[in-house]
């Protein structure tokens, strides 16, 4: 207990150690938050990008806070359901054989660019006769642009910019060929195009022809910025991957580092204690392992066998056990083995496992812990590297996979920097946190380095 207190006091003397520990602590908090906020199944479902999970998300847009850094104010994405969201009113006038439903939604458009796309997602309840819908958009000037009218199916999606009739109407308003979004949100006949800022009102009138018939309408605007982290090419919300990347990275890094260093220490201890052919065998395996191409084998395993994170983790640990660490550990154990207290233990008849676990292993713990902590980043980055080569676990949302997606889809060429920077900065912070903490521990536990 006193020992731990002393160590903590030592750690507090190194600012980098405190900084590193704080980062690790925050990461663990983030990981716990991610796992509780989005349960595993939910994360996998979101990352699979089914239409029902991504229809509200625009494609490839930066996060909302991006607006703070740009001169232009980019339109924010939103989605409102009539009747459920307050601003989107729904008034039902019941008639004898059906009803008239009026929908109205006003939104303030004060942006310097046009949204990607507008949608109406319509769900209609009816037996035989389908309801009829007409849509009008009122511009800030009070002009009523007729968007469309149609008899709706039970489930229908209306995309504004793919309506040829709307394009024709807009051409008439502007006096030239124009895209739908620009036509809707520009001052009529302005040259060059000028955005018509102000309050727009979407008015929808639905007529139903049956008694219990009802129409549910969701108005979705794909803006040019979205949410906290933006979206990717499959319209997935990057929040899933950014949050879930933390627990996966920590899990992979910590398990691989701990597994590797503890197993190689135990094997070194057994080899050093028993000596003879066992020790010889361990050393030969280490030499063979030196010849094996580590990354190539991991790539082969990923390509041929399985990309499951468990398999990759297992292979990583197996290949990393018999490396230089085992030689250093063995050298220390050989020294410790000659100590008198080991002789004493043997004299009172301690069993071999007891000597290894109780007398040999504790001596190396001070060396093991800094090494373990410093090794975490390399495994975190190893997982990201494999993901970058397209060998990441296919189902899991990880930071490395986001970078891979971004890289493969030319994010760097197209200036979509948020897509690469978000996961990259988190990886960097993770790496730095563990490395700084590990370095400081190394100096605390290794008296030879102290003061150097």
């Amino acid at each position: 207990m006193k020992n731990i207190k002393n160590i903590l006091r030592e750690i507090a003397r190194y600012p980098s150690a405190i900084f590193g520990a704080a980062i690790i602590f925050l990461l663990i908090a983030l990981a716990i938050f991610a796992v509780t906020k989005i349960p595993y199944e939910e994360a996998i479902r979101l990352w699979r990008a089914g239409e029902e999970t991504v229809y509200r998300n625009p494609k490839n847009v930066p996060p909302q806070w991006f607006n703070f850094f740009t001169k232009k104010d980019l339109p924010i994405s939103f989605a409102v359901v009539a009747g459920e969201d307050e601003e989107f009113s729904k008034v039902v006038t019941q008639g004898e054989t059906g009803s008239t439903i009026e929908y109205q939604y006003s939104f303030d458009f004060q942006y310097d660019d046009y949204p990607q796309e507008l949608f109406l997602y319509i769900q209609a309840d009816y037996q035989i006769k389908n309801p009829f819908i007409s849509v009008v958009l009122e511009t800030p000037d009070g002009e009523q642009i007729k968007v469309t009218d149609f008899g709706t199916a039970k489930k229908q999606t209306y995309r504004f910019s793919q309506d040829d009739k709307l394009i024709t109407r807009l051409r008439r308003i502007h006096g030239r060929d124009i895209q739908v979004m620009q036509g809707l949100f520009s001052v009529p006949k302005s040259e060059p195009l000028q955005i018509n800022k102000g309050v727009y009102t979407l008015k929808i009138l639905a007529s139903t022809f049956e008694k219990d018939s009802d129409v549910r309408i969701e108005f979705v605007s794909h803006g040019l910025v979205f949410g906290l982290f933006g979206t990717d090419h499959l319209r997935r919300d990057l929040t899933t991957a950014i949050l879930w990347g933390a627990p996966i990275a920590l899990f992979f890094g910590l398990v691989a580092a701990a597994g590797t260093s503890i197993l190689s220490m135990l094997i070194a201890a057994i080899g050093a204690w028993f000596g003879g052919w066992l020790d010889e065998l361990i050393q030969r395996i280490t030499e063979v392992n030196l010849v094996l191409p580590f990354l190539s084998i991991l790539i082969m395993v990923g390509t041929f066998y399985s990309r499951s994170i468990w398999v990759i983790l297992g292979v990583t640990i197996v290949l990393s056990i018999f490396t230089g660490a085992i030689k250093t550990d063995r050298a220390i154990f050989l020294q410790v083995k000659e100590s008198t207290y080991i002789e004493a233990a043997q004299a009172y008849g301690a069993s071999n496992p007891r000597i290894i676990v109780k007398y040999l292993v504790p001596r190396i713990i001070p060396l093991l812990i800094p090494g373990l902590v410093s090794a975490v980043p390399s495994y975190v980055f190893l997982e990201a590297s494999l993901a970058l080569l397209g060998l990441g676990d296919p189902t899991l949302p990880t930071w490395g996979k986001v970078i891979n997606d971004a890289y493969a889809n030319g994010a760097l060429y197209r200036g979509q920097f948020y897509w690469i920077l978000e996961p990259a900065i988190l990886l960097m912070i993770t790496g730095l946190g563990f490395a700084m903490f590990g370095f400081a521990l190394d100096r605390i536990f290794n008296p030879k380095l102290r003061g150097m």
């Binding site: 980098s16 590193g20 030969r284 030499e287 063979v288 392992n289 030196l290 010849v291 094996l292 191409p293 990354l295 190539s296 084998i297 790539i299 082969m300 395993v301 390509t303 041929f304 066998y305 410093s374 980043p377 390399s378 980055f381 990201a384 590297s385 970058l388 080569l389 970078i403 890289y407 760097l412 060429y413 200036g415 920097f417 690469i420 920077l421 990259a424 990886l427 960097m428 790496g431 730095l432 563990f434 490395a435 700084m436 370095f439 030879k448 380095l449 150097m452």
Partner: protein, 374 residues
């Protein structure tokens, strides 16, 4: 009497020397055998993994069947053929193709043939890959890629090694200074791999500042003029080489500096200082000399490391080097290329280890080969 004893002593010396040579020879012979066994085992394991214990055969068989079927249907498109004739033709062609690749013998036997070929450096022919000049020989594929890898790895690694050793030596002389502290503070940045810095570099220098190319080794088309050609090459080299250097520069300086510091706090260095020897002499005689074996070992390992390339960095920068070839070979299930690159590295490693063992056994008086009991 004096001459007699002199003869005695020289006799003893001669015997001792002969004994040493004999012991050295014995040690070296044992070492060669052990290294060779290591290589055999390592390569055999690689062969087994690269073939998935034989499962790659199934993949290749299905691949051949599909290809042959397509070929036959293309051949028989214009003239009708009976089903039996067609089946016969397909089977013949499959058998021929399987024989070409060597699928007609069982994997267990073939694996040992692969091993023998690999060990005798008969790298054979690639299954799918073709070199840019159209050769299917694995050695041609590798040799074609080697210069690009050696250029990238050579410039970055040699630059890093030399500068970090020199910087470390300077820092160890003035430890605790501002620069020393800076290196210590920056050393955790080396926890990120080169490709990671590569992406940042591309973002900054290619995408935002637009002063350096995104990737590749030469512009298309490459400049005809030699001077312009070299300039173009250098321009493409800066970012990948820079990211390889930056990714391990600070940790390398830090490690060397700590290593030198440990040696410079030895008693004999203190003694030399007390004697008032100039610091340059102390550095050369008492610090550099005992650390030389470690420096040489590290340098040798670095040089052979050049031959493996940097798979991921080369992939990110689309650098046409060996590392990327290995990655492509794996994705194409091209085992001869995978095994070929592995055996070359294994041999280089074994030779280097053996050579270093040999040199140290001769040079270092502390290395008493075979135990110096007599």
């Amino acid at each position: 009497m004096t001459s007699d004893s002199n003869i005695e002593i020289s006799k003893i010396n001669k015997a001792a020397r002969a004994n040493t040579i004999k012991r050295l020879g014995g040690f070296m012979a044992l070492r060669v055998v052990m290294l060779f066994v290591t290589i055999i085992v390592g390569i055999y394991i690689t062969i087994l993994i690269a073939n998935m214990g034989g499962y790659v055969d199934t993949i290749m068989r299905n691949d051949i069947r599909e290809r042959v079927n397509q070929q036959v249907s293309a051949m028989t498109a214009s003239k009708p053929m009976s089903t039996e004739n067609r089946a016969q033709l397909v089977n013949q062609m499959i058998a021929l193709e399987e024989k070409r690749i060597g699928l007609d013998t069982p994997f267990a036997i073939r694996s040992f043939r692969y091993l023998k070929n690999a060990l005798t450096l008969e790298l054979g022919r690639a299954v799918h890959m073709v070199s840019d000049h159209g050769s299917r020989q694995v050695s041609n594929i590798i040799l074609e890629r080697l210069p690009a890898t050696l250029l990238l790895m050579g410039t970055s690694q040699l630059f890093m090694f030399i500068t970090s050793v020199f910087l470390a030596l300077m820092l160890s002389r003035s430890y605790g200074s501002f620069w020393d502290k800076l290196v210590i503070t920056l050393s955790p940045t080396s926890s990120a791999p080169p490709w990671f810095y590569g992406i940042f570099f591309i973002l900054l220098f290619a995408a935002v500042l637009k002063i350096l190319p995104f990737s590749g080794m030469l512009s298309a088309p490459p400049p005809k003029d030699t001077g312009a050609y070299i300039l173009d090459l250098l321009k493409h080299l800066i970012l990948p080489a820079g990211s390889l250097v930056i990714a391990s520069f600070f940790i390398s300086v830090y490690n060397w500096r700590t290593f030198f510091l440990i040696y410079s706090s030895e008693d004999y260095v203190e003694m030399a200082k007390a004697k008032g020897l100039p610091s340059r002499d102390i550095e050369r005689r008492y610090i550099l000399r005992p650390t030389l074996p470690t420096i040489v070992t590290n340098f040798a390992l670095l040089v052979i490391g050049l031959f493996t390339g940097a798979t991921i960095t080369e992939t990110v920068f689309l650098w046409p080097g060996l590392g990327r070839t290995i990655f492509r070979a794996v994705s194409l299930y091209d085992t001869p290329v995978i095994v070929g690159t592995t055996i070359i590295y294994a041999y280089l490693l074994a030779f280097t280890v053996f050579f270093l063992d040999f040199v140290y056994a001769i040079v270092d008086p502390r290395v008493k080969v075979g135990g110096g009991n007599n």
